[in-house]
Amino acid sequence: MTSTALMKPPAQREIGSDVYNEKLGMWIFLGSEVMFFTALIGTYIILRFGSPEAFAAPGEILNIPVTAINTFLLICSSVTMVKAFAAIQEGDQKGLRWYLVATVIIGAAFVGVQAFEYTQLTNHGFVPSGYVAGSQLAVEAADGHLPASVGVYSSSFYTMTGFHGFHVSMGVLCMIFVTVKAFRGKYTATDHRGVEVIGLYWHFVDLVWIILFTIVYLV
């Protein structure tokens, strides 16, 4: 089998189009998602350029080791997703099912770790509106160890990571749907459109996190 055959669309495609309709639809949707996340990331960059004094240095407030683990999880889930796709292309139903189950579990773990991170941050006094009065972080800010006011930072942080977490959560729900269909034997080596389309979405969410992790946590 050649690589051209390997990526052969598993269904009829419209005349003049390289890909079948569901896949083209997902790419168009992902195009709109690029603009959505560009708006969020762009806003963050602009705010950071405009008010550098309102942003804490990397690691001062945010927990880099925890989010590095989350990045590891999302990369792992991307590889299990693509392995599920590769499995069904070769007609391997068992491989498809178990790689999809692994993707669901790892994706849910990402959401769980993000919930843990949010809980930790709010317990320390970092909420979307800034510091909680009297909290550990507010005291450190009063001592001059942290920016005096972080409302812009915290609101942009929670907006970006929150929307990304929402996308991952929706991805997990859709993945559960695809996994149930896989266990019912609905996908075959010649028709596995659902697996490929959800895979595109999932990898896109991973791709966005790669950029967010760098911009929000490391820079």
């Binding site: 390289d18 790419w27 350029f49 790669i210 760098t214």
Partner: protein, 90 residues
């Protein structure tokens, strides 16, 4: 495009992404000049994103029309951010 008989080595791409992630976290701790640091980290992030798009999203094997469809709007994202930063600072 060269014709091969196998899927790409997905585990190798996974390892590549992990190495880049560890390198990114390491570089972020080095205390380099801020501009250099931002440049290096952004290049590494884009490098990882391209790996995901090419190998996991299979753009490397897609037809030219779909690839153009995906690539064409990307400069617009850079233009919109730069344009608004310029507006904001002036």
């Amino acid at each position: 495009m060269s014709e091969t008989n196998a899927h790409p080595n997905y585990w190798a791409i996974w390892a590549y992404l992990l190495v880049l992630t560890v390198a990114e976290v390491g570089v972020a701790q080095l205390g380099w000049n801020k501009t250099v640091l931002i440049l290096v980290l952004v290049v590494m992030a884009v490098w990882k994103a391209v790996l995901v798009a090419l190998y996991f999203m299979h753009l490397r094997w897609e037809g030219i029309r779909l690839r153009l469809f995906v690539i064409a709007p990307l400069p617009l994202t850079v233009i919109i951010v730069i344009a608004v930063i310029t507006e904001f600072r002036w």
